[in-house]
């Protein structure tokens, strides 16, 4: 199974909920657990909010969300063409924020990393940021087969 989608939308705050709805709807076909959907929704929300709040700082702009499914993983990309991140390592530090006065927590990237298996950020100042995330869709149980070998079993819920 290999399926993908791409969505482009304006950098407007009301589209944060829209992006979450779209990724949830896209994931329905693989019948994921509620907790996996919830974690992916949160990660997408954080990335899209970053684009709207930081990349464009309230100005007009375009955000692109891409997602791809294979038998095991979902791959998600959130891309913007905004101001970019100068120091990605610093930006990804938990509780680092450039807008503390706006009640930002600086938790965005930390939550993406907590809720997804992998998060990669690439950015160029003045041209934009790309966040790539990956998550396994089925939780695994370690089980032992008849001969005592450890194997991974995909739990079907």
């Amino acid at each position: 199974m290999n399926n993908q989608m791409e969505l482009s939308f304006s950098a407007a705050a009301q589209n944060e909920a829209f992006a979450r709805m779209v990724i949830s709807a896209f994931l329905v076909q693989v019948n994921p657990t509620l907790s996996i959907v919830s974690e992916i929704r949160t990660a997408v929300s954080e990335a899209v909010t970053n684009s709207i709040v930081h990349a464009y700082s309230g100005d007009e702009g375009k955000v692109v969300m891409r997602a791809r499914l294979d038998d095991t993983y979902v791959y998600i990309e959130i891309e913007d063409y905004g101001k970019g991140i100068g120091d990605i390592r610093q930006a990804m530090q938990p509780f680092f924020t450039t807008q503390p006065e706006q009640e930002r927590t600086g938790m965005g990237f930390a939550l993406m990393q907590s809720f997804m298996d992998e998060v990669h950020v690439s950015s160029a100042v003045g041209s934009g940021t790309l966040v790539c995330m990956k998550k396994r869709l089925n939780e695994c149980d370690v089980i032992y087969d008849a001969e005592g070998w450890r194997t991974l079993d995909r739990r079907l819920i």
Partner: protein
Amino acid sequence: MIRSEWNGESLTVYLDGEIDHCASEHWRQEIEAELKKRPVSKLVLDFSDVHFMDSSGVGMIIGRYKTVKALGGQVYAQGLNRQSSAVPSCGSASNHYNPIGRSRNV
């Protein structure tokens, strides 16, 4: 308009829906307006009808906590569910975001 209750001692605010960056601004304004009406020594935030909350929502909660704390008050959370507590309790965040006392009926 938000749903809230004042019992002469504590102000309970019933949060609902999805508390993201977009909704947080609305909640911030509405709760601050309620807090200005009277001195509030105990603010209770009810999360029973919250279906989603991300770090923007946490920022809004921390902001109200600071407002109430600056006036010598206390903030409590009640009705926390899996959706509303996943982000604040995530990993090391709980060490930093534990200023809100939990009501008994959590």
